[in-house]
């Protein structure tokens, strides 16, 4: 097992390098005029002066070595276009904590509401909870998020009597953004948990348990739920990590100064150092999420193993 984890980590590092290099090359294919705001008014001298300052006039491999050299020294570099000259680590340190806070809260809310809802739906098949849950899930999935977020903001804020915009100090302005963020996940967890549990409920061992005389409750909670939860487990670390990376819709609407939308922003502004830094962070998050998810699966279900055939006795 340990060997497997180590091997995974090693390939993770290799993967990271591949990702960074690919992205590095890709962003340098973007058109030159995207680096300037008043492209028409500049003459050739100024364009080449600025490109030289950005380090874009050197050959590709020189730029690549410079980048990795900086990275190995722990220097993420400075933003070139988004916030000129500001160290990227500083920018991220300002934005990430807020997104992480909101993300964790939204995740906790989603799990606290979604999982019990899914279990209730599976248990009361076709009765009240199932119907209610279905309507909820269908509604959340059917209407595009971009649309119901606006309604939520407008009606929710007048209902709660708070400002439409987010402000760190006023705790009441946290409610709507966190709630909006969690809605999609609540529906997701409820839907998939219900499906997995329903699948389990059809299995033979459940029939046996019923024949044995176990209570409905004991069967669902102690056996079915655990088995159904296995496929869900792997999503939790990843979705946690990605909620933390911020939701672009919510943060734009409520003026939340977090990470959401940052990636899209810096890509359209063609701020190469920031794009590379953010891609690196998100990649690490994603890779580690995948690894953790796999490990969690192994921990929960002893039948699953990643080890090579020879290692299995």
């Amino acid at each position: 097992m340990v060997k497997y984890v180590l091997k995974r980590l090693l390939s993770a590092v290799v993967t990271l390098i591949v990702i960074l290099t690919v992205v590095f090359v890709l962003v340098r294919q973007m058109p030159i005029e995207g680096y300037f705001d008043n492209f028409d008014k500049l003459d050739q001298n100024m364009i080449s002066a600025r490109l030289h300052q950005l380090g874009l006039t050197d050959p590709l491999h020189v730029q690549l070595f410079r980048f990795y050299g900086q990275l190995l020294r722990g220097d993420l570099g400075a933003s070139a276009r988004y916030r000129v000259g500001a160290p990227i680590s500083e920018i991220i340190a300002q934005k990430a904590p807020l997104s992480i806070q909101m993300g964790v809260m939204a995740m906790a809310l989603a799990m606290a509401l979604g999982i019990p809802l899914g279990a209730a739906m599976a248990r009361s098949k076709s009765k009240f909870w199932d119907k209610f849950g279905t309507v909820f899930i269908v509604f959340v999935n059917a209407v595009p998020a971009a649309v119901y977020y606006i309604y939520l903001q407008s009606y929710g804020s007048s209902l709660l009597g708070t400002s439409m915009l987010f402000s760190r100090d006023d705790w009441r302005t946290w409610i709507l953004p966190v709630f909006s963020m969690s809605l999609g996940n609540i529906a997701y967890y409820a839907m998939w948990l219900r499906r997995y549990m329903v699948d389990e409920l059809n299995k033979d061992y459940v029939k046996l348990a019923k024949a044995k005389g176990l209570s409905e409750r004991a069967i669902t909670m102690r056996h079915v739920f655990r088995n159904a939860f296995v496929p869900m487990i792997q999503y939790i670390p990843t979705s946690l990590m990605f909620t933390v990376c911020g939701s672009i819709y919510i943060e734009s609407l409520y003026s939340v100064p977090g990470m959401g939308g940052l990636l899209v922003d810096v890509i359209s502004r063609q701020d190469n150092p920031m794009v590379q830094a953010i891609v690196m962070i998100y990649s690490c998050v994603g890779i580690i999420g995948l690894l953790l998810g796999d490990l969690l699966m192994v921990v929960i279900d002893p039948r699953i193993t990643f080890a090579k055939k020879e290692d299995v006795r």
Partner: protein, 467 residues
Amino acid sequence: MGLLRKMRAAPLEARMQEELRSRRQAAEKDPFGFAAFSAADAEMTGVSDYSYWGSTLRAFMKNRVAVALLSVLAALLLFTVIQPLLPNQYPANQIINHPTTGVQMSNVAPSFTTAKVSVPAGTELIITPWEDARWTAVSNVLTGIKARAEFTVLQYGADYCRVDLDGQTGYVKNDFSTKLKLPEEPEKTPYASRSNFAIKLYSAPGDYTNNGDPLFVPTEYLNIDGERAVTNRACDLRILPSSAPFLFGTNNLGQDLWALVWRGTRTSLFIGFTVAVIEALIGILVGVLWGYVRRLDRLLTAVYNVVDNIPTTIVLILIAYVMRPGISTLIFAMCLTGWVGMARFIRNQIIIIRDREYNMASRSLGTSTVRIILRNLLPYLVSVIMLRMALAVPGAIGSEVFITYIGLGLPVSIPSLGNLINAGRKLISTSQSYQLVFPTIVLSIITISFYMIGNAFADAADPKNHL
């Protein structure tokens, strides 16, 4: 496979039925007589006419909600195809202009009729000349008054004032939209007044116009006398010389929203289906290999990590830069970045079941990998795969909305639900919110249908539910 067995079983079955019949007859005659040995009997236990897909279909049909939604979806799809062929439809991208003024008919509210005002017989109207003989363009506007032009108020009224403009008498609207400059005691006429806005001089205290533009009425309903006309029966004054209504209204450009929505649904469904199918094919292929063949696990995990972590936005921007925005570009971009989700999902499912006893048994029996995948693993996962695929279609449409939100979607000349919803987002608190509501309703119906159908099919596909 089942068919072959059925064919082989048919003559056997025929013989068995005969045997059964003769036995029944024999049993009726002598219930306690000895039963003899029969070779046919022995065979009977080995044949069954159980068909997996048949039972799945039957179980599915029992779920009435799902069946209903399936027919709704089919009807929707059919309608998007036949809608342009129906009578009285406007072409999807056609900008509809007012016949006499040439101005776009923007933001017309949805309605079942084109009638704007109903007038009784004997109403006096003023004609605006235009070519068509069957319809006449009418209004009750004598002339337009330029902004800040002065006129004399002869009689004050809370809604309309009677005024004199350079010798012509008529009526002028007195409300917040004209903001007439009136003195302290407006009843004490006459006095000079004006408005800061361009307004109209009406022949009677009433507004028989479409925001200032002429309305239309069939010529036969009028008694015409030069430039004036009188209606000879109670009739409707319409905004256009036709009774083809704007069921969904029009948008800012003056395009018929009804036609746009159906055209857009067709485009979005096409994109959704194509993307879902391609994603499924690639995703299942890669996912199965990734999950089952241990040697490929590390390699494919690495590939997955790379593809998954390259921001879709960069890929989308670069693709849009190289290939112009269009449907095939969008499909290409979405497939390129979308197959990883399906692959990961399948891979996780496979990992869970690959070491179960029955698979170990198959392996020790020497079954080839391909056969194990096709016969052991995939059928087990049919239910979840079906659900996932069913949700992939509305998911693709949802991604399209997001991609259009960040500005990389289809050009507006190709209508699609994503375009329509994004265009309508800004209109939420206005009276033009119908431009958002209708596409959203259609999208919701599509999503709900796929969800219910997917779930019902997944439920039906579980063999445990076939009994």
